[in-house]
């Protein structure tokens, strides 16, 4: 067959193969068939970006394994989880999971659906961090969050997020705190502050891939509440000349929480849902109420193996305090 015809026929065969992989048939022509077999194997070729991301994930885990080889994990929180996990409620959790996979290489760890197809609960992992989401229901309307994410390359993660439907809040740029950063809003209303630390690795020391950020009016008082109610430690508080908190970091057990004042025209108030693992949920619940939290549900054993309580704070944040009793992920 003349080469020109071979080029055309090969492309026709590739096109058919990509459209309907199961219906594709080996061509009769011997030369074309040999090329066709190579093309058929290429349909499954892995994404180079996935290979690279998984390698960084494996390396990060390996370095953590080296560092913590002698410390046993606590029994009151599930394996792989830190103390705080953001809990988002969105209208279309399936679509949001796809967005996070495409934009940030998220790995789906579980997705539980109700008989009507609604996603009741899903867990995804991004880098070393977990994120939970569901589609809510009565009393739990959509509740997007602000998330500070560290990636290997903020510019390309930003480009992928925009390609996956996010809109730009701030385009990529070098920030005074040593990060290259781009800020976007995803199609589900969540803010993502996508950063890459410029010196000594993509994530600044002491931080994780994902950190929840609370935007509130009166951040100062919210910081006081989180310290009183949950025993948080202040890591850093940066104020503007008028005393407003521009940025703050608190540590709750092994997880950082970031806070920043909501300002008209810059960032709206963004309260969040927070799944907070504590060694003793009853004690934590009592302490939170004493500090001024409102009870929504007292501690109770849930079918998913956690003793859980729900309290709200005065800034609209929902705190799901939990102590793991029996992990359904690891027990049959």
């Amino acid at each position: 067959m003349p080469e020109h015809d071979l080029i055309e026929q090969l492309d026709d065969a590739v096109e058919a193969m990509l459209r309907a992989p199961d219906a594709a048939r080996v061509p009769d022509d011997r030369e074309l068939a040999a090329l066709w077999r190579v093309a058929a194997d290429l349909v499954d070729v892995p994404r180079p970006s996935f290979r690279t991301r998984l390698k960084s994930d494996i390396e990060r885990r390996a370095s953590m394994a080296t560092a913590t080889v002698t410390t046993a994990p606590p029994k009151w929180k599930p394996k792989g989880f830190r103390s705080l996990t953001p809990y988002l409620i969105v209208r279309d959790a399936d679509a949001m999971i796809t967005f996070m996979k495409d934009a940030f290489g998220a790995l789906e760890k579980g997705r539980a659906k109700a008989p009507d197809g609604r996603v009741m609960h899903a867990e995804v992992q991004i880098g070393d961090s977990m994120l939970e989401l569901g589609e809510g229901g009565e009393g739990y309307p959509p509740r997007p969050a602000a998330l500070h994410l560290y990636v290997d390359d903020a510019d390309s993660a930003y480009a992928r997020a925009v390609a996956a439907g996010a809109t730009t809040l701030f385009p990529p740029g070098d920030r005074p705190y040593g990060d290259r950063e781009a800020d976007v809003k995803d199609p589900f209303g969540n803010n993502w502050y996508i950063g890459t630390h410029k010196e000594g690795g993509p994530i600044p020391p002491g931080m994780n891939t994902l950190t929840l950020t609370l935007h509130a009016k009166g951040t100062d008082k919210l910081i006081g509440f989180v310290k009183d109610a949950f025993g948080a430690e202040e890591v850093e508080v940066t104020r503007s000349p008028d005393g407003t908190v521009v940025h703050a970091q608190l540590r709750l057990d092994d997880t950082l929480l970031e806070l920043g004042e909501a300002r008209a025209g810059v960032v709206d108030e963004m309260p969040a849902g927070i799944h907070y693992y504590v060694p003793d949920v009853d004690a934590a619940y009592a302490k939170a109420l004493a500090a001024g939290a409102t009870s929504v549900a007292p501690p109770e054993l849930k079918p998913y193996g956690e003793r859980m309580a729900h309290v709200n704070d005065a800034w609209g944040n929902q705190w799901f305090l939990a102590t793991l009793v029996k992990d359904p992920r690891t027990s049959a």
Binding site: L10, R47, K101
Partner: protein, 177 residues
């Protein structure tokens, strides 16, 4: 596996058992075959990525318990992958209440190995050919979209696709010889 290669692999596995930092080298050596195996059985890119991640995370977590018994390290990884596929299928079945599409049967390992070799060879293609192959097969873009993205004519893109596939075939024939 050649005798020398087996000895190298054994050393590497021993190193990774005591120093998890060395595990990345095992990942480099085995990524393509595990991905090829999983992708053949689940036929869905997202699922293939999730399961491949799980396989290497589990392997890393359990490497200290791995015992060298003279079988290739890949056999251990394949077994973790087969279990992960079965678990995922069972979980989906529970979630739906009805059996889902069953993962396809155990593929022939020689053809998995061959496909893994092909995946590695894509990275060795001349840059333009590789880019076209990735856009076409990974991102599943049309010739027209690729032409626009690369600022080339459609004919030129088809020719790069042809040269890429032809080049891969020639390398495969060589490596099988």
């Amino acid at each position: 596996m050649a005798h020398e290669e087996a000895a190298d692999e054994r050393l590497l596995v021993e190193a990774a058992r005591t120093d998890p930092g060395r595990f990345a080298e095992l990942y480099e050596a085995h990524f393509e075959r595990i991905y090829a195996y999983v992708a053949r059985r689940v036929r869905d890119r997202h699922a293939a990525e999730d399961i491949t991640s799980e396989v290497f995370q589990q392997a890393l977590a359990n490497i200290s318990r791995y015992e060298w018994r003279g079988v290739p390290f890949s056999a251990w990884l394949y077994r973790i992958a087969a279990n992960a596929i079965a678990d995922r299928w069972k979980a989906q079945e529970r979630e739906r209440g009805t059996p889902g599409p069953e993962p396809s049967v155990e593929p022939d390992f020689a053809s998995v190995e061959q496909q893994a070799r092909l995946f590695r060879m894509v990275g060795l293609l001349p840059q333009e050919q590789r880019r076209v192959i990735e856009l076409r097969f990974v991102e599943q873009k049309s010739i027209r979209e690729i032409a626009r993205e690369l600022g080339k004519s459609e004919g030129a893109v088809k020719q790069l696709q042809f040269r890429g596939i032809e080049g891969l075939r020639a390398r495969m024939v060589e490596s099988n010889a």
